[in-house]
Amino acid sequence: MFSASDLRKGLKVEIDREPWIITEFEFCKPGKGTALYRCKLKNMLTGTTMDKTYRSSDKIEKASMEEREMYFSYFDGEFYVFSDAETFDEYPISSDILGSSVNFLIENSLCNVLMFNGKPIEVELPIFIEKEIVQTEPGARGDTATNVTKPAKIDNGYEIAVPIFINEGDIVKIDTRTGQYAERVKKA
């Protein structure tokens, strides 16, 4: 159980047997009265949101979630299939749950999958992945500035902004949390 003073942005709680994540949080305390913890919550299964205010004496259920290590195996045309690194059980995961992460899936890369009652509800990719640039306009010769960018495509067609000096065939590192270019790993 959490007590109200444990509440903060990003915390996962269980309300009416469903997992919710706190997306906004405000501490508020009138005069000499009880503290109030105002939360905006998002249902991790359905995506619906709600406002809820807790008092300092309230107790909140911890979402009974388990984190499993899984390899991304393949895309079956509808679902992205992950296999548990320990049990080898396969879990089809929809693109709704993956969100923008679908752009950065690499076969056989190890991910953390958050499970609620045996169902995957969130996939955390490795922070950095490496991808080859398959298409980009050549930059001006000798231009080594890093603050000027141009669009570039990776193998699945996802477009990122890269510095001018990046060429087709270069391998770059991408931050999966932001979806942004981080650095060049290998020159073509």
Partner: protein, 313 residues
């Protein structure tokens, strides 16, 4: 000077709030000047204390067998019993677990007392004090805070808790207390609807929320207590101070009991404070004002950490 590395984020933050810190320094200068002109003594009392005043919802951080003070009130009242009649203090107070846009565990409190005064006298006093300091630091008395302009010159509104609850929530404050929803209604229905274009005194709290204030002589259901609101934000809490020993003993006993019931850390009783009460404290009024929040409003800042140099907590 040749710099080797990029400017650390903390230093950029300080650069951004530098003008607020300068304003704060100038404000505190005129604040002290005002009190001294009015014949007040500045007296510091301990920050590390043995016996915090017991409260249902305020907790003192424990440190090495002592506590950090949540307010200097009990020591200030011992000074009053000893014969000091006009005195103030500016210094840090601490409240465990209180952090947010308007809260920091460590914050700066202005607290002052004057013998022979009541809570209504202090409405006039705080008005004069803010007009004096704001005129000298802001150069004007109409202050922009967010979307509103607070006019410190014109009429300052006084509204009772009962009027405010009936008007904005259609419920009596006593009923709200019984339903355990006083704070929720106050913060969600009353505070957002208080006038923001002028200072507002929310006055005459239900007697069960009297804390250390006196019951009103003309109405036993309410306490002589007000809170000042600026731009919808609570700034200061003021009492005609309770001076009756037995009543004080009774209220503390109840507060100690509530703390025990709620599994909150227990505090040793402040015997010196009660000795002083027994000996006799003259009739007086006192006020506690959150300096950080006041500076926030006067510098049009939306968060408390924009007016504090470093927030470790």
């Amino acid at each position: 000077m040749q710099r080797e590395s990029k400017k650390p984020e903390d230093l950029m933050r300080l650069e951004n709030i530098a003008s607020n810190l300068k304003f704060r320094s100038s404000f505190l200068f005129y604040l002290r000047k005002f009190f001294i002109k009015k014949g007040f003594l500045e007296i510091d009392t301990p920050v590390l204390i043995r016996s915090p005043a017991p409260e249902d919802y305020i907790n003192a951080p424990p440190v090495g067998g002592f506590f950090l003070r949540t307010s200097p009130e009990l020591h200030m009242k011992r000074l009053a019993a000893a014969g000091f009649s006009k005195f103030f203090q500016l210094g840090p107070c601490f409240r465990e677990g209180e952090r947010g846009k308007l809260h920091n565990v460590e914050f700066t409190m202005l607290e002052w007392y004057e013998a022979g005064r009541n809570y209504e006298d202090l409405m006039e006093f705080v008005k004069e004090m803010l007009q004096y300091t704001i005129k000298r630091t802001c150069g004007k008395l109409k202050i922009t805070y967010g979307k509103n302009i607070i006019d410190f010159e014109g009429c300052w509104e006084v509204i009772t808790v009962k009027e405010a609850f009936l008007k904005h929530a259609g419920i009596l404050p006593e009923t709200a207390i019984q339903n355990n929803e006083f704070e929720i209604i106050l913060t969600e229905k009353v505070e957002p609807n208080l006038p923001r274009n002028r200072p507002v005194f929310l006055s005459d709290y239900p007697v069960s929320l009297a804390a250390l204030s006196k019951v009103k002589s003309t109405n036993q259901n309410v306490a002589e207590r007000w809170e000042l609101y600026l731009g919808g934000i609570e700034i200061a809490n003021t009492y005609s101070e309770l001076t009756a020993y037995n009543e004080q003993k009774k209220r503390f006993r109840k507060a100690h009991k509530n703390r025990k019931l709620n599994n909150l850390p227990e505090y040793p009783e402040d015997n010196d404070f009660f000795e002083a009460m027994k000996y006799g404290i003259p009739e007086l009024a006192g006020s506690a004002l959150g300096i950080d929040r006041l500076i926030m409003i006067l510098t049009d800042s939306s968060e408390i950490n924009e007016v504090i140099s470093f927030t470790e907590t």
